[in-house]
Assembly symmetry: C2
Homo-oligomer: 593 residues x 2
């Protein structure tokens, strides 16, 4: 069985030495002193390693079962869910007005990485509830908030998001689910929704479904979509549970991974629902929380990479095959551990340098969300809005790739169930698809975010990178050569791509859109390059200050050097593809493929 | 359920317009007239599409079951196996002296792609038998050949390869299985072997195991390994079956994919075996057939990509979401088919341009094996020996990647079992691992093949590419620009990498070995670039000659242009990584990862 070791030390490094969170003027960040965050992360780590990780293969093998309309979660899930909920973990960053602890999102992101790495399918039950909580919190009426939020904060009640229908997912303008006014404040909801994660299960007393549907007078397309609360059990004025609503789980999806999470077909047969926010403004409500939800999926992607890497590393240190070509390393053993071989290292360094870079990038993103939500910082809001599709698309593509690399480290053992690596691969795969496929992320990035407010956000990002390079150059020739020069080159490629899109965007949109996916990756590499420069700088500062754990900081710098030398050159290929334009992409008639 | 459409037309194009097989002086190639190969491929295609493809999901869901020592294959497998065997498909390229049809390997490779694409797990039963047939054919005594081969050619008896043991796979010098002489011509074989594909099953009357073991006087390491025939049932002089041998299947591996194929733990408890070839020369016997076996795995990799692409394409033509940004394409429908969107096309073109390039590359490789085995062409032998790790490593990495891309085309549907794409991903994954992991392939390429005979083979490849460019330049400016220029640039990158290795190889082997994986991919792109140039040239010739099916040829050229413009630029990144050297790869102490 695979193991899980909470990366508390690395998280502390990112929070306090790179982001220096407690020095930020964001409301609530003054609480985030190193001792406090260490205590929180240690406790979360114990649950992740001791409770959730052992249940991960159980959930995979047993899966969920639909019996007489009831979905049974795998053995041990309910007890673990109770433990997580009773420990207050589901309330971490929720509003104290509804029972939350009001802690910054950046801290709950760190906890989220641990929970997601140790058991992604399990953690989704809480994650979906949190998403629904966010939507109601942002757009619900006071009465709705009072009625639903406290129980959702504690996860006594679950929450779901119902968007997709059999004939439409990405193009939500096509949805057919209907909402007909009942004459009071309620609506009759009728339709079928598919791929509803945690749509039905046995771990909560009630499930609060958020459902996109169309009112009778709705305009065509996405401008005619409204959002409804549709509880599994009606809730009485006093908060007690009333009648069962007319909705049911019509089936469970058989899928490649995340077997421990119930992916439901949900049938609404004239179910009673309540409008959230204004009529026809449901998409807006959905979009409000998209930055956070998509960052959460990017996190899932690299978190699977992180746990996969940990297990690949353990294997590489243990497995004896062949001899170091430069001289025997373990003469007392029949062979050397495979970590001596350059190609095994290349593989491990790819994993390590991605995972640590992704962690820093995600925490930085979470801190931008805090700055926006808590601090009302509009520039932060625009920046995270720009970066969100990169975090989601790039980190899940690379996170999945990392699980595949880790699986490869184990050779044949990686393909067997026993070692658990193949589950990480199968679970990570969904992150590239849900919450908007990565193709959609790239379209959002190039088609919407780049041009928003006259390109203000991307210009701000360029400025930020340029200033960083300028402010940090000239102090240390080695740092300049190993980190700033590659970052400058990669950033130039990103700017060149941006210029190409600007020049082509209006003339021939296909030229821009054909390069959107490469742009998302180019952008991702620049972001990770920036994070690695910042991390190396922070590590150097600690070394200069005489930090005792020199191995940790030296390793950090060496890992960053690897990323800059081996991964950043990819930006040139992405740029070459982008500037190759759309002609070869669009050349074929659809019939001739 | 996914569909399978045999790519007969494309195969015919490669065989006759690109490779022009029937004009080759290789013995037996005169038979390969277009009408003949078309007839063979049509019949094979019917079995692949009509019999094997429908069993592919059945095999995946049911898997194999071990009951009282007997392995039950999935429903329908035995009947299909009988049909394949009775149709003579297992005997296609086997020696007529033992009941084979004696057809060239290039033709059985084309048939193999169909069988493997439609049902990889199923086709492995025959594939393993064929591998064992090859080993006995090359190294067995006349008596052994007469006793075992006819029944293996017809697949009445199966065959297996027993290399791996629990503590060693790659490093076979560590094996512990013992062979003790019985005093007659037989040996007592004792040991445990794992991951034995088709090690035990119910589709054959007997199974002929080829087992690597050590004689009592064996030298240490790989130089002390001998190869033995260990039949499941002893074979009497008259060819009838005798007693059950002392060997058994001790368990089935639970694994990520190829569930329809039994992956067995095999226990040899003093089983009776017979030496194949000379004592201590077992590794040589294994290596003889490695080119063919590894080409077969490369084929499996791209074949899964091919069937996945076909199904992704069908989905992209059918699924309606969003509108073409340059103008509505299907006004009569609620949305346009997703194939109108540039990023969906980018994804499909990546798949298509890889699959067709890989097919040409593999068929070319198979024709080199024919030239070597049938024609005694030593240069062909050296060239295919050099290209084998590229075919195996590059085509399986990219083949797997292609299944992932295809799965992505389907969005959420790609993650569900129902659509079948996720099975292609899970099945394709093993091809990167078995028959030598792709890391090992890259080590074989850079550590052995490059330097062999003073680098004669790689120089020959460079000459071949240069001559091709020289011979074809100057006739058509567009062809020069779109195909020859990128090929020249990529080929230069490959040469620069080769020079770097030469300069570093002796000085610091870690510098060379740290770049081995990138070199394998760089090489693969150059090979596919060469194939695309050759295909485009052939397509142009047919167009110039007034071929009626202009769409096919124009599509071929456009697809090639895509590959050259969008994939070949990767060679620059691979070169940058290679010349970055081994310092960042090897920097960390194993304890500090």
């Amino acid at each position: 069985m695979p193991s899980y070791t909470p990366p508390t030390k690395d998280m502390q490094f990112v929070l306090h030495e790179v982001l220096k969170v407690s020095e930020h003027p964001v409301p609530g960040y003054d609480e985030l002193e190193p001792d406090f965050t260490a205590a929180v992360l240690d406790e979360a780590g114990k649950i992740a390693a001791g409770v959730l990780a052992p249940l991960n293969p159980v959930g995979d093998v047993q899966g969920c079962k639909l019996e007489n309309g009831i979905v049974r979660t795998p053995e041990g899930f309910k007890a673990a869910f109770d433990q997580v909920r009773n420990g207050g973990w589901t309330a971490l960053d929720c509003d104290p007005e509804y029972g939350g602890q009001g802690l910054p999102y950046v801290l709950s992101t760190a906890v989220g990485e641990m929970f997601s790495a140790s058991n992604m399918a399990f953690n989704m039950y809480q994650g979906l509830t949190h998403g629904a909580y966010n939507a109601i919190h942002a757009h619900g009426s006071d009465a709705q908030k009072t009625m639903y939020l406290p129980k959702m904060v504690s996860c006594e009640w679950g929450g779901t998001m119902n968007l997709t229908e059999p004939h439409c997912g990405t193009d939500l303008g096509l949805i057919r689910t209907k909402a007909v006014p009942n004459g009071d404040d309620s609506y009759k909801i009728t339709g079928q929704k598919i791929w509803i994660s945690a749509g039905e299960h046995d771990m909560c007393d009630n499930i609060i479904h958020l459902v996109l549907a169309k009112l009778p007078d709705a305009p065509e397309g996405v401008k005619g979509i409204s959002l409804f609360i549709v509880p599994k059990f009606m809730v009485n004025e006093d908060g007690s549970l009333g009648e069962r609503n007319s909705l049911s789980c019509g089936g469970l999806e058989e899928k490649m991974g995340i077997h421990g999470n119930a992916t439901c077909v949900m049938n609404y047969d004239g179910a009673t629902g309540f409008l959230v926010g204004e009529p026809h403004k449901g998409m807006r409500a959905m979009f409000t929380m998209m930055n956070e939800a998509r960052l959460g999926v990017g996190l899932q992607g690299y978190a699977q990479g992180a746990v996969a890497y940990e297990n690949a590393l353990a294997f590489a240190r243990d497995r004896l095959q062949g001899r170091d070509v430069t001289g025997v390393k373990a003469p007392e053993k029949p062979a050397d551990p495979i970590i001596v071989h350059p190609d095994v290292r290349r593989n491990l360094m790819d994993q390590k340098s991605f995972v640590e870079g992704a962690r820093a990038f995600t925490f930085w993103g979470a801190s931008l969300i805090d700055a926006s939500h808590r601090g009302g910082d509009e520039e932060a809001e625009q920046l995270i809005s720009l970066l969100t599709p990169v975090i989601k698309g790039f980190l899940t593509d690379k996170g999945f790739e990392t699980t595949v690399l880790a699986q490869q480290t184990l050779g044949g053992s990686g393909f067997t169930r026993e070692w658990g690596l193949e589950q990480f691969v199968r679970d990570a795969r969904i992150t590239m698809i849900y919450e908007g496929t990565n193709g959609i992320q790239s379209l959002d990035l190039v088609g919407r975010k780049l041009a928003q407010n006259g390109g203000k956000a991307i210009m701000a990002f360029f400025d930020l990178t340029k200033s960083y390079i300028k402010d940090n150059a000239g102090e240390d020739a080695e740092f300049d050569k190993d980190f700033l020069d590659p970052l400058k080159a990669a950033s130039k490629d990103l700017q060149a791509a941006g210029m190409y899109f600007m020049a082509q965007g209006m003339k021939n949109p296909n030229n821009a859109l054909s390069g959107s996916y490469d742009f998302m990756h180019l952008f991702g590499h620049v972001c990770l390059g920036l994070m690695w420069a910042r991390m190396a700088k922070a590590a150097k500062a600690s070394l200069d200050a005489g930090a005792s754990d020199r191995d940790f900081y030296e390793t950090k710098i060496a890992t960053g050097r690897y990323y800059m030398a081996r991964q950043l050159p990819l930006t040139a290929t992405h740029l070459a593809r982008i500037t190759a334009g759309g002609d070869t992409v669009m050349a074929l008639d659809a019939a001739n493929f």
